[in-house]
């Protein structure tokens, strides 16, 4: 027998206590939605998991009203220390139910259990612990003597890290004193609904967090709801742009975490074996469904062949298959639609003249799968070097000098993240300084920590999540609705603003956190 064909080691689904169908979580209870319910499926074998309610405009209205009521009556009146207690409690419950959450996440999303178990869920708990600590220290966060909550936050999150993105959104919002209406992605609502059960278990006051499921129109109704004070969105640049347009002039504070086409730069003095691991982790982690994925590999030309050779050897040891098997490295693509997009862009890559190589993986008969793929001979003008593929596809380009590496890395409409691999500290710092990316990793990739701010340049969005900066996104820090570039002239706005808020005379700072 072959040892490397490890015997199956599946994580048991028996830990899950799933309902046949889930309602909307509004005002602390599960209620029926008024849209047509849909079914969430496992992308690994297309089997149905549970029925999910669909929130229409009336449901969105109910949820926002519940959040407003909870804000006015409970949450905004509660002391920071008490809010912190709830957040600590949620964090501990997430840890207690970690295995259940991991299994649910892998089942619904298709990501390997070792990632949901070792990355997603531990980070979710870490996020709540981190922001729990901030809840009673807002006065000392550097946002003035008494920063205030914004009110109701509308949050729309993507399907690539369903529970982690929920934590990135909910933890700072609650710590800062806001209430929340959150919409998980259509294809991955499951872990958010189990999280709603955790909120019940934690006795979080009704309405502080509302979770409504549905599709794009649900999200649109939510972010465009007039009684929402803050919009936080993570997802595609196209949708982000639409949200920016529709919320412009409404006075809603907004943060957008959008797409990316990160450069992972490998210099010839890089620690080679670790760089190979970093390249693999950069683009094949979570099937490449990562907005900050290192999807453009920039390799110094003199080590190109060696890097590609080693990369292929390493990729042939990756194990693709059942997301619930503890030895699986690459899980399923999240949806048919995404698989189609990855296939289409890969085809474009071939047509453009890039050379395609895919790992020799056995593709399961059912479900959505795409073998880890690298394209060599990619030129900067190719679409696969410019457009976000959001899948396990790596485009390899070369450079000759550090200056060229920087120029090529920055030559993208995006600017979310970048990676540098070199043994030389001064080079790392020098290059990092000139990269236009929100996060720059040195000799590592795709590492996240709640204390570190995260966010992008250019079409990768604006605002920061994580750390003290992420807190600021949910606080009234001197910016005021009447100070926006709405119909009122700036001078009037300033007057109105200072009349309403005599304690601070500040100017419009929208987007200043960038």
């Amino acid at each position: 027998m072959s040892f490397l064909e490890y015997a199956p080691a599946p994580e048991s689904k028996s830990i899950l206590h799933l309902k046949k169908k889930y309602g909307l979580f509004i005002n602390g209870e599960f209620v029926d939605g008024h849209g047509t319910p849909f079914t969430t499926i496992s992308p690994a074998d297309e089997s149905p998991i549970a029925g999910i309610a669909y929130a229409n405009e009336a449901d969105v209205d109910t949820a926002v009203a519940a959040a407003r009521r909870a804000y006015e009556k409970t949450w905004s009146r509660m002391s920071g220390a008490d809010r912190g207690k709830y957040l600590f409690r949620i964090a501990r419950l997430v840890q207690e139910r970690a295995r259940e959450l991991s299994v649910a996440e892998s089942l619904d999303n298709g990501k390997p259990i070792k990632e949901s178990r070792d990355v997603d869920v531990p980070l979710v708990a870490a996020w709540f612990f981190y922001y729990a600590g901030w809840a009673d220290k807002l006065d000392h966060a550097g946002y003035g003597p008494a920063p205030r909550a914004l009110g109701v936050a509308a949050q729309v999150i993507p399907w690539n890290f369903p529970l982690l993105m929920l934590a990135w959104k909910i933890a700072p919002a609650l710590a800062a004193g806001n209430t929340v209406v959150l919409k998980p992605a259509e294809t991955t609502p499951l872990s958010a609904l189990i999280f709603a059960e955790i909120l019940q278990q934690a006795d979080l006051p009704a309405g502080v967090v509302n979770i409504i499921t549905g599709a794009g129109d649900t999200g649109a109704a939510l972010v465009n709801h007039p009684d929402v004070n803050k919009v936080a969105f993570t997802g595609s640049t196209a949708v982000g742009r639409a949200i920016a347009k529709s919320t412009a002039g409404t006075g809603k504070k907004i943060t957008l975490e959008l797409g990316g086409k990160a450069a992972n730069i490998v210099f010839d003095d890089a620690p080679m074996d670790q760089a190979i691991e970093g390249i693999v982790n950069g683009i094949f982690f979570n099937q490449g469904h990562v907005c900050c994925a290192g999807s453009r590999l920039l390799v110094q030309e003199n080590v190109h062949d060696e890097v590609i050779d080693r990369l292929k050897q390493r990729l042939s040891t990756l194990r693709m298959g059942d997301p619930l098997d503890k030895n699986t490295d690459i899980g399923a693509i999240n949806s048919k639609a995404q698989l189609d997009r990855i296939r289409a862009l890969s085809k474009v890559g071939e047509e453009e003249g890039a050379q395609r190589w895919s790992a020799d993986c056995e593709i399961p008969a059912k479900g959505f799968w795409f073998a880890p793929t690298i394209f060599t001979n990619v030129e900067t003008s190719h679409r696969i070097a410019r457009e976000e593929i959001f899948g396990p596809v790596l485009s390899v380009l070369t450079f000759r000098t550090p200056a060229e590496a920087i120029a090529k890395a920055n030559n993208t409409p995006y600017g979310l993240s970048a990676g540098i691999w070199s043994d030389k500290g001064s080079r790392i710092l020098g290059v990092a300084d000139r990269l236009k990316a929100g996060v720059v990793w040195a000799n590592t990739f795709n590492r996240f920590d709640p204390a570190s701010p995260f966010g992008g340049y250019k079409e990768s969005g604006y605002g920061r999540e994580g750390g003290r900066h992420g807190l600021g996104a949910y606080l009234d820090t001197g910016w005021h609705p009447s100070l926006t570039a709405a119909a009122t002239p700036l001078s009037d706005a300033l007057e109105a603003g200072s009349a309403k808020k005599p304690r601070r005379a500040s100017v419009a700072k929208k987007g200043a956190s960038k």
Binding site: F3, Y6, A7, A9, D273, T444
Partner: protein, 337 residues
Amino acid sequence: MTIETSVVLAPASRAIQLIGSDLTEKSLKLHLDGLTGVDAVGLQARAADLATRSIKTTSKVWALDTIIKLIDLTTLEGSDTPGKVRSLVAKAMNPDPSDPTTPRVAAVCVYGDMVGDAVAALGSAHAAGGSTGINVAAVATAFPSGRSSLAIKLADTSDAVQAGADEIDMVIDRGAFLSGRYGLVFDQIVAVKEACRREDGTYAHLKVILETGELNTYDNVRRASWLAILAGGDFIKTSTGKVQPAATLPVTLLMLQVVNDWYRLTGEKIGVKPAGGIRSSKDAIRYLVTVAETVGEEWLQPHLFRFGASSLLNDVLLQRQKITTGHYSGPDYVTID
């Protein structure tokens, strides 16, 4: 330090193949210093990742038997006696008296003066260079410190080989390595290799102990691994077991990566032996996974991978009994040696 460019090093075919026929201390140093660095965080993260593999059912059964086949059952004490060595050999030949299907270990590893006793105790079970049977490995070259003259190290080695040792586990001169005298370390390995030569022209297998716990940095381990391979080592071995830390998964992974590099470069397969500190089956299985996923499954054979261990065997036997009988027994259900 100044490099003595005129000092021509002992000829070692691998080094000549890679560096060229004008092999000097300078050319060797240039080569070793030109190796790319190791990122400690990344190396440890990769090792930790490999350690999460879940080896169950049939894979576990195979892994446990394979571990036994890869063990150098070791006793390296000042108090070793012929009786203790005979007892160790008996255990090596028949690890679990309650289960005759238990495989034998690869070798017994003893001090040089005990080789004769080990050979005698093995009798017809002694592999003596053959493909079946149990090898006798001897530690040599003023093990474990290596602090003696070259003449004594060579005599130590040839004594053991003449007494019938099939494998020699030598230590490198860590002091020379750390002070940058790579040429001295190189020459000593070449000379010891020559001392492994038997009268009939064959060689005892040479395992080169780097004592990674004293080299301290991963960059040093990488250089020393290259040095040992270039000088003609058949195996590179982590530790004597007398210095802490002994074998660790990241160090072993790093050495396997060097072996992989050498294989990619020349097609030649070098063995790796982690030694010291591997006590549980669970730990040992992590090493098997690391070998298989770094250099390939082919390396999971006694001529390419060994565990230097004494207490590991009994834990593997307990696990094996658990799989056979369905329940855990206890330490009194396996023999102490």
